[in-house]
Amino acid sequence: MTAALRFDPIRLPPVCEELRKEVRAFLAEEIAAGTFDPNKPQREDSDAPEFSRRVGERGWLGMTWPKKYGGHERTFLERYVVTEEMRIANAPTRRFFVADRQSGPVLLKYAPEHIKMDILPRICRGELCFAIGMSEPNSGSDLFAAKTKATKTDGGYLINGSKIWTTSAHIADYMIAIFRTSPPTKENRRHGLTQFLVNMKSPGIKVNPIAQITGQYEFNEVVFTDVFVPDDHLLGEVDGAWKQATSELAYERSGPERFLETYYVLTELVRALGSDPDTRGAEGIGRLVAQLHTMRRMSVSVAGMLQAGKEPVVEASIVKDIGTIWEQQLPHRVRELAAFVDGEASNHATLDELTAFATKLAPKLTIQGGTTEVLRGIIARGLGLR
């Protein structure tokens, strides 16, 4: 075969089901205590520092990391279950999610020991929020066109330029960013970018919020003026960040967050259509559930491969490609089917409100974390076409 795609039917082991119960119980307590409302994914401020600390106390951050850094040496599949349940409950995970999913693993791989010892345990305790500084005003998909400069100076580097669309920069403690340390070479236009850990409290950083079409503020423009970053905050290879950045993205692509972001509209549709929907309503639900189930089976399968130490780059990209298209289409399909909801249904208002919110949010889903077009390029490479 040219392209041997594999999606083994991985089942979550009993330990995951036990864990799932614990997470559900925890979330139910938090909901009862008023920490968050599971029916309000549109909440303005999903930053919840106290909640974040309690999640850390439960041992649900840095789950797969070594114990000496505060991690818990548990499996990717266990982490998968926690992510899934948080997502389904619309829990306020903004503060810790990026650090747990992405930044921590980058530090584990590339940071010097004393930095790991300092920062990783704090991530595990839910104390730190991270931002990712890849995009710039003139380089989004084309990561290698990034221009923001890191210039060598005594004991470190000086950063000048700006990053954009930086999620959570306004609340972040740290950013992991790529900066230009030398120009690209003729042979390799990816050359010349270096990854750094930036303390967001450093002088010279200005964060300008950018409003989104949903009415929320989540991402920002970040302007750097002579920001000093010490030498030991350099991550990995000088001028070689492209390798690091692209492998980092594999973590970002196949998790349950890549097809569940608008899930709540489906639950509300089922609720509003009631226990005995007409044929059109039933068919609509059936098709959506079949998709959801399939996406989830694919995503669990990729988590199983990560656990087995494989690098399922193509499979992960496929999950993000079809997963984000599914979560993007979901509010539109739900809107069509909502035509068959009985006018008397008491929860119609919730359905309408959530569908409107999810419809406004939907456009971003196929853009954040790499656009559909870029992903398809990666898949095509995996198929042997490039």
């Binding site: 999606f7 039917p9 068919e283 639900i285 059936g286 559930v289 079949a290």
Partner: protein
């Protein structure tokens, strides 16, 4: 599929490669390939994979048999292997020994009802029964006053109105006009027509996924060979994106079908979890067949539209298999009703239980 399936699946793949080469078959107008292929399959015991040795079969596991069906889909196999396997499986559920030769199964359409009356005679009409005209026996699931019954019937005792399915394989109407079965047996507890349809739906899902694997493979190979505007067409971004989409549909079909096969293989019976897995697999695989076949043809241009080219052997079968044992609309309604009856708050626990 899992590692342990390999020997049985490898045997099947070897026979398909030796005796069911699509190019040879496509060019053979006289269909001389059929007899030696079926002979080799019979000798290997594959058609009776799911019949325990005590009932004359080879006693392979459900998982192994499902692996064979996936491979049969990859080969675009045009003989009643899946049908004979399903028939043998059904008969074994009633502890009825399987006869030699090709078999098929009735009903194959969820809305058809066959009945067994007090005199032990079968009545009713079954539409779109695959390969009935090629079968020596029909395994039947019928309703009787005493509950569901399994029956073994000689095909010669039925009226068979020949038909041709979309993929070029026989798809017939079988009429049972007070037909006397060779044997009948009560169906075990929990085995009803819905279970039979779910079993057939998973078989077809694996075949569809297999056909898509080949469509993807062939299309990528073709895109790396065909030159237009002085470039291999696979270098054009639009073509790459189409192939990436085909890979996505193939992946979804494979994931859903293999997961459903695994679910049936490890479950006690046809419970709600199996229902979710099997119905979802058929829905998703049928959708994948529609999108995937269109892309594979697009990439091949006019050559893929010719009878000479083998592409249709896979694309049209994938499309045809959508309709057997309940099409995607049928299962979507059934699945939607089940989800609605369980209620909104139970949807996530159901999905997450898999």
């Amino acid at each position: 599929m899992t590692e342990t399936d390999n020997i049985v699946v490898e045997t099947a793949e070897k026979i398909f490669a030796d005796l069911a080469d699509p190019q040879t078959i496509n060019a053979d107008k006289a269909e001389t390939w059929k007899a030696p292929l079926w002979q080799a399959l019979s000798e290997s015991g594959l058609p009776l994979s799911w019949v325990p040795e005590e009932f004359g079969g080879s006693g392979a596991s459900l998982a192994e048999g499902f692996g064979v069906l996936n491979a049969a889909g990859r080969a675009g196999l045009a003989v009643p292997l899946a049908e004979t396997m399903l028939a043998g499986w059904l008969l074994a559920q009633g502890k009825i020994a399987a006869p030699e030769g090709a078999m098929t199964i009735a009903p194959a359409h969820p809305k058809d009802r066959l009945t067994l009356d007090a005199d032990g005679k079968l009545s009713g009409r079954a539409r779109s029964v695959p390969f009935a005209q090629d079968a020596q026996h029909v395994a039947v699931l019928a309703q009787s006053a005493a509950g569901a019954k399994i029956a073994l019937v000689p095909a010669s005792a039925c009226r068979i109105d020949r038909g041709l399915g979309l993929g070029g394989d026989a798809s017939d109407v079988v009429t049972f006009d007070k037909v006397a079965p060779i044997t009948t047996a009560p169906a075990p507890q929990g085995l009803d027509q819905t279970s039979l349809m779910l079993m057939g739906a998973v078989a077809r899902s694996l075949q569809i996924a297999g056909a898509l694997e080949t469509l993807l493979d062939r299309s990528v190979t073709y895109a790396n060979e065909r030159v237009a505007f002085e470039k291999k067409i696979g270098k054009f971004q639009a073509v790459q994106h189409n192939l990436a989409k085909l890979a996505g549909e193939t992946s979804a079909a494979l994931a859903a079908a293999t997961s459903a096969a695994d679910a049936i293989s490890s479950a006690e019976g046809f419970d709600d979890a199996v229902f979710l897995e099997a119905s979802a697999a058929k829905i998703r695989c049928a959708e994948a067949a529609e999108k995937g076949a269109a892309i594979a043809h697009q990439v091949h241009g006019a050559i893929g539209f010719t009878r000479e080219h083998i592409l249709h052997r896979f694309s049209l079968r994938a499309l045809a298999w959508r309709d057997d044992f309940g099409n995607e609309s049928h299962w979507a309604v059934e699945l939607g009703r089940k989800v609605a009856a369980r209620g909104a708050d139970d949807l996530w626990p159901l999905v997450a239980s898999r």
